[in-house]
Amino acid sequence: MGALSGSVPQRSKGLRLAIAAHQGLPGRGACRTAVDEMTDLVVARPEGLYCTAGDFYVDPWKPVSRAVITHAHSDHARVGHGHYLAHTHSEGTLRARLGEITLQTLQYGEAIEHRGVKISLHPAGHVLGSAQVRLEHQGRVWVASGDYKLEADGTCPPFEPVRCDTFITESTFGLPIYRWPTPAALALEINDWWRSNADAGRTSVLFCYAFGKAQRILHGADASIGAIVVHGAVEPLNAVYRAAGVTLPPTLRAGDEGVNAQLLQRALVLAPPSAQGTPWMKRFGNYADAFASGWMQLRGARRRRGVDRGFVMSDHADWPGLHRAIKGTGAERVFVTHGSVAVMVRWLSDNGLQAQGFKTEYGDEDAADKPESSTQDGVVNAEQASHDPAQEANAADTS
């Protein structure tokens, strides 16, 4: 509480209004609700989503004095803010990624008040420590969801619907073609693939984001099949999960003693997508590779990725999930961020909600389509290995 109740720099109201007038995406519904900083509790500003009454930002992409962080993925938690507020379980990952920061943490459901705005965090089911931000001010309730997923995956508390007047939703997979298999079916599929490779004496290399997806795969992995080896970018995040009480099977590093050709024949290897095609891969000799991502739902994306196998695994909500979440909030107004903004806004408007887009820098509207890759430079470090939907999209489209 203390960190957020310090002095607040005043900004010119005129400037704010001028900026606000430029926000919102063109399209149906966009003009229905004028973005008005005087009445809206959250507006999109060049720095990020801004809480007007509280004078702080949610997941800003430019340095600001006060930031509430929904989760520790790199496109939501950036460097350079004065104060950070996040969930307790994000502390480890945030400090590991951002170094020395002024960080205040909250448990789920715990509320603080800042300039008359009641702030609380609620499970988003995306990755460990991910939270929806509930903002209450003078009887109005807004919820900024960050990234979320509805299916419980056993590695973080599942998404909880929070009643609100206005809901800010992501739309990464906002098309009806995206419907995810159940976590059980997915784990079965991955284990079957691993087992058949192991039986053929081939290493199974599964590319996945180091933070979140890797731990979900570990959580569902059948460790009786063989050893599990993880890339250097993955293991520190495993430690964070284990410290938070999440049960993961034992993991080895590629350089560990006992990791030899014989062990690797039956091993599952988890590595970030940036490791694909790098010298690090050479040690595995005969291997089958696969990629875990929501984009793998489409054959075109699978083929462009150039791996043997694509597993449809996302830490974002699928189309039914997005709409179940929105309905669950009871919100009458919905702001749509990063993903299929235009599609979601039109669909929600057609279905009787007040919907409009928020332009953010969490990922382009066409993220899924962007073919250029930011993961081909062969350098693997924790920063790259951390998740970024735009990066994930790029990687999914890289051939």
Binding site: P176, I177, G300, R303, D308, V343, A368, D369, K370, D397
Partner: protein
Amino acid sequence: MKAFAALYRELDATTSSLSKQAALQRYLVGAQPADSAWAVYFLAGGKPRQLVPTKLLRSLARDAAGLPEWLFDESYDAVGDLAETLALLLPAPTRTHDLGLAAWIEQRLLPLRNMPPETLPDVLRAQWEQLATDERLVYFKLMTGGFRVGVSRLQVTQAVAAVGGIDAKRVAQRLMGYLHINGHPTAADYATLVAPESPGELNQKTSGQPYPFFLAHPLNLPLDRFEAALGPPEHWLVEWKWDGIRAQLVRRAGQVWLWSRGEELVTDRFPELATMGKALPDGCVIDGEIVVWRKDAEATGDPGKVQPFADLQKRIGRKTLGPKLLRDVPVVLLAYDLLEFEGQDLRARPQLERRALLDDVIGQLTHPQLLSSPVLKGETWADLSRQREAARSLGVEGMMIKAKAAQYGVGRTKDVGVWWKWKIDPFRIDAVLIYAQRGHGRRASLYSDYTFAVWDGAPERIERKLVPFAKAYSGLTDAEMARVDAVIRKTTIETFGPVRSVKPTLVFELGFEGIARSPRHKSGIATRFPRMLRWREDKPVAEADTLETLLALLPLPLPMPS
């Protein structure tokens, strides 16, 4: 159906040809012959005729999924494949089935074609309610007739050969004809496909099957290296490379079959060639090129001249061939190889010997629709190169260089002899990209198909506009395409469904093989095989070529004797 869907998924999932081969063989060994018959048919490129209008499929799927048309279209844009979009959007199955592939096709899919439109919706819904997502993909692929899955005909041929324990070349020949568009492969057909080789098979007098076509390799060498790479020209048979339809004329058992290189039976399209074929002796197969051929003066002994490919397209595209069309667009077969004579397979004989026999056959027949593709003489490669400079004005694509000792191989191979194609350089134009469309399949959701324009006036004219004249989608590397895609997204002016109009900023050098006037195109011209030769990042948009430059490339209306 489940096993075949699993095979499709497996073939689709892996990039390794070894794994694909293993999956194919595993399927063929395990499946019922009737199912294998259809599996081979589709995987090797056989196409079912359209069973249900795609419009109906789309509207039924929209209703079933509860989606408005625009959202279906958005989804289709993102997926880039109709069958896959349908499979992904339909609600989860409510029932199961245990029918095999053949049963699905013969009892359920094929009957759809003759079903009254009012009963179709219920029948279709009842069908897809039983199918899981991966089965639905195959189901809709079968129904919409596009069945690309990343296995080549050669891989299927090899798998069939391995399963039957027979030579792959034999299988390749048996597969010709097996894939006819109206084909209905049965368990018995499949048994024939994998049956042990019999000596009588060489003389299949009752069958119209063509031989697998022998294909040429491109020759991309500077002239001064020809001698070193090929030896002297006297070892080679040199001919023009015609711009027509490669075809085999099969004369057996008193009948005539004309096959295009796509293994499509085109006898009906070219009745004058069918008539000519009837005059040939039985047990005779000729390889050559179908071209439009016209004489300008009937009486003067003018040998005639090949006409642009655009003329041939008038024949291909037409449903009915009226007498006027047959008169205005007459075709001939320019023959260059004899594959079978007196019922004997000649393919293992040397090129020169086959050619001599061919010329005998042509000489004895003396039919106006059967011409011998002339053999070109040249002492040196330089001499031949000079002759080749006339190619454009003669309406040919360049030269074919065939080893005199070559056997007639199978496909694009070099193991028993080689054919080279020595093509002339394409026409080149610097054009501006003005529209982009998302691709399909591997390029789905990438802007990969472009429309190009040239200026309708010189730079001094301030009010000049860009006129679209060609579409191209090949020639860029994946990396270049990714960069172009990024520019397209940044410079989009308007989006119309999958198409974007863009600010003119990108200039490409386009290459094309031919150019003809066309009233159907805005620019008044049509180009043949347009593709991107390179991205002219160095060239400003204002310096792209003009329509005038383009029109100057049109062939002169005057005929030139060959």
